[in-house]
Amino acid sequence: MSVSPVESESAGQQKQHHRIEELESVTIRFAGDSGDGMQLAGTQFTNASAVLGNDVSTLPDFPAEIRAPAGTLAGVSGFQVHFSSRDIHTPGDRLNALVAMNPAALKTNLKDLEPNGILIINSDAFGKNDLQKAGYTSNPLEDGSLKNYRVITIPINTLNRQAVAEVKMSPREVDRCKNFFALGVVYWLYERPLEATLRWIREKFAKNPAVMEANTRSLKAGYNYGETAELLPVHYRVPPASIKPGTYRKITGNEALAIGLVSATTLAEIPLVYATYPITPASDILHFLAGMKRYGVRTIQAEDEIAAIGMAIGASFGGAMGVTGSSGPGICLKAEATGLAVMTELPVVIIDVQRGGPSTGLPTKTEQADLLLAMYGRNGECPVAVVAPCSPADCFTMAFEAVRLAIRYMTPVIYLSDGYLANGAEPWRIPKVEDLPRIKVTHPTQPNSNGNGSAKFLPYKRDERLVREWAVPGTPGLEHRIGGLEKEDVTGNVSYDPQNHEHMVRTRAQKIANIANDIPELEVFGPKSGDLLVVGWGGTYGAIVTAVERAQRKGYSVAHAHLRYLNPMPKNTEQVLKSYKKVLVPELNCGQLRLLLRGIYFVDAIGLNKIQGKPFLVSEIEDKIAEILAK
């Protein structure tokens, strides 16, 4: 197995008079002011690493403010990249290297750098004023507080200005290139080829030759500086990973979700109507889909979240796949209409990109605390299907599944993503279109009964899976009315009959329960029985699988199962849970899945809970496993 970068030019003129050390994995974070272009630097570094054949996983960290005052702690923006010659699943626990473009970036990020880690600092940004803005009383470059790291100070502003001196640009524009200088240094440090980034610069700035030239020079200058300045006695190589053959791209969770929705509806041959109201971290789904007009996608920016779900349901009533997306506060607002979709038994997909709560909470941070909201956050007995992707690329698969289940079971499906999955990125093996499942949509065209003589359409007549037919307006002879009052079985007329109500409540529940026949069984990674099962859901997958793998390597009898279908859960869930002496449920909340597993399956699950707006570190789960199994 070998890697062939799309463009095959060789990686510069490396003189290699430094020692090269081979590493399995590296985690690096680019940190600077919001205006410093750190997201871009991180993205380019990721691409370069992916093209080189590494497995990669990334995580951006945006400031909460749009543009906090330059140089302040609130304005720090970060981008973390984990790249490896092995199969990896998380953006990394601790940093091996940190790029800090200013004191504020240093201050907020240093705690994550490992002892003796590499610390690249733009010394030009450490003036008195800069230090003060970041709340430093003495200069960390001078006061010895960094002595436990391998510090590389570079006067990046100065060097960058020299590098692009010949390009005609304003001083401000010149300084804007400094992220490429820093990037060049890091490319040298980790032996990354420049080609992909140079090409990107050429394409991106095709209309602005000065900027193109400047960025090109900055990147190369940084690279060469690394090489000639002998910044460190060594530099590093992370060889390609052994990855399943195929064509890959890097994908974030929100992108994968958008593409998944479009794929599912394209293959189902029905239009996609995405109605939403902007909210962090779900807005990007709208942005992506708004650009997909060539795929016939209709996006509606509604006046609020209630309107958005109303529009989605209205679209579904007409035969489209209505989808709506939001985050916690907006999901609350969709509860009442979700109930209507349950009662009218129309397909609709409701995306919740979870963020830190409660209330407005921590809008730019991640959390998993809307599971019980998804399960129970509506009046009455109001079951819906709930699915949750487990990685950025899995957002594609589960979006596809959400659409499939919504249509196949005429039901709302809540899709629980989170801020970490939405913005995190990993390589995605592009599927062959012909390998994707087809979703079959049947809109009836004929009455389905001739009870008392004349043909009639009975909107609540069900098939063996308890699913009713999806008759759409415009079909002659199938005129019918649906609504939120309790329906009479079969006819769908309004009914206040007590027995009918009980029957319908149980039928709606059973219909959702039947989905268990239509989804994959719960897979176990590790022994089929043993001392401990670690059960997760959603974006914690990567951290859990890595931790369990390490624990297994240490000889522990531990397995991992990840629930991507939360309502209903896979048929074998109980059996899996009961095959282990103990069950551990790590969650970024106070124990929501744990409550469900205990309540539904009566399994005495233990919780590992973190509510810090941040994903689990692998080590946190590893330690907990060790702690439990030590007892």
Partner: protein, 339 residues
């Protein structure tokens, strides 16, 4: 009836098999009857018609029409209608709402549907009361209305539904009355023909909780003096003897009598097609007892509908850039091959 509906549709064909359950004497009955009559006349096949309502007595309406229908949740009907119409411009979509449903909980959706000019017909049954919840005052109840929730009289200033609609620049705005059956039918037909959001307020009598609030406009003995039927291009004349009119004094309307010094030429001329909605707004502000209340079409202009524009952006993109293939979508970022 066979499954193919042709323009031979009669009002009876439009009745569903459900028993109508409004209170005896409720104004809703007349509106239902006139709606069937109006739709029987416009030549739209039954299966192409969709009624969408919120919650309230009035919102039971869709159950009684043998068309497609959806009885949704309180105040949100315009949103369902918008989602449906956006990709189903072939359908004739009607929203049925009440003064509580449409103007209390649902006021915002109303404004936004109007602003977008989605091609839906919004029919607001204004009975100045919450009927279904048994008689609380509503946002259109006159100040001082005594109800269970306002035992000493309501203190809130009522909204004028048409002023709100015009504030949001509705392209079609009209008013009519439940018992004026010919006028009601003709207004519903005109709403049906309008391309864009049509907003129609119907004065509707709630027999049980607000009986008689519109007597001034329906009672034979006084109605001619208390209402004014608008006609495009015609002067604003009213009164039993058709000898009264509306003149403009600066920007204030003024009731004048057509004997003495005032002639028809001095009167305000109605122009439903005026680009600027200020005239329509001014008419919507005429309130009994100071003025006769206007009936008819206040405004009717053409502006591109929301769905026309949304869909034309899509068609135009596909026409110029080609229909998207999934393969391209998947490869919409840098790709690399692992062998």
């Amino acid at each position: 009836m066979s499954t193919v509906s042709l323009p031979t549709l009669t009002a009876k064909d439009l009745a569903s098999d459900q028993e109508v359950r409004w209170c005896p004497g409720c104004g809703d009955y007349s509106i239902l009857a006139q709606m069937k009559k109006a739709l029987a006349g416009v030549g739209i096949p039954r299966e192409k018609i969709v009624f969408i309502s919120g919650i309230g007595c009035s919102s039971r309406f869709p159950y009684y029409m043998n068309t497609y229908g959806m009885h949704t949740i309180h105040g949100r009907a315009p949103t369902f209608a918008t989602g449906l119409k956006v990709f189903r411009p072939d359908l004739s979509v009607w929203v049925i709402t009440g003064d509580g449903d449409g103007l209390s909980i649902g006021g915002n959706h109303l404004i936004h549907a109007i602003r977008r000019n989605v091609d839906i017909k919004i029919i607001l049954f204004n009975n100045e009361i919450y009927g279904l919840t048994k008689g609380q005052y509503s946002p259109t109840s006159r100040q001082g209305t005594r109800t269970k929730s306002s035992p000493l009289g309501s203190v809130e200033h009522p909204l004028r539904p048409l002023s709100i609609a015009i504030g949001a620049e509705a392209t079609f705005v009209a008013r009519t009355i439940d018992v004026d059956i010919n006028h009601l039918t003709s207004i519903l037909k005109r709403a049906s023909e309008h391309k864009g959001t049509a907003f129609v307020e119907i004065y509707q009598n709630c027999k049980i909780f607000n009986d008689g609030v519109f007597d001034y406009a329906t009672d034979k003995s006084v109605k001619a003096d208390n209402t004014l039927y608008l006609e495009h291009g015609k002067p604003l004349i009213f009164g039993k003897d058709r000898n009264k009119g509306i003149r403009l004094h600066n920007l204030d309307p003024e009731v004048v009598t057509l004997d003495g010094g005032v002639s028809v030429d001095d009167l305000l001329i109605h122009d439903e097609r005026a680009e600027e909605p200020s005239l329509a707004y001014l008419l919507s502000r005429m309130v009994y007892p100071r003025f006769p209340e206007c009936m008819g079409v206040f405004r009717c202009i053409r502006r591109p509908t929301y769905e026309e524009q949304v869909n034309s952006q899509i068609e135009e993109t596909i026409r110029t850039k080609g229909k998207g293939k999934l393969e391209e979508l998947f490869a919409s970022d840098d790709t690399w091959v692992v062998k």
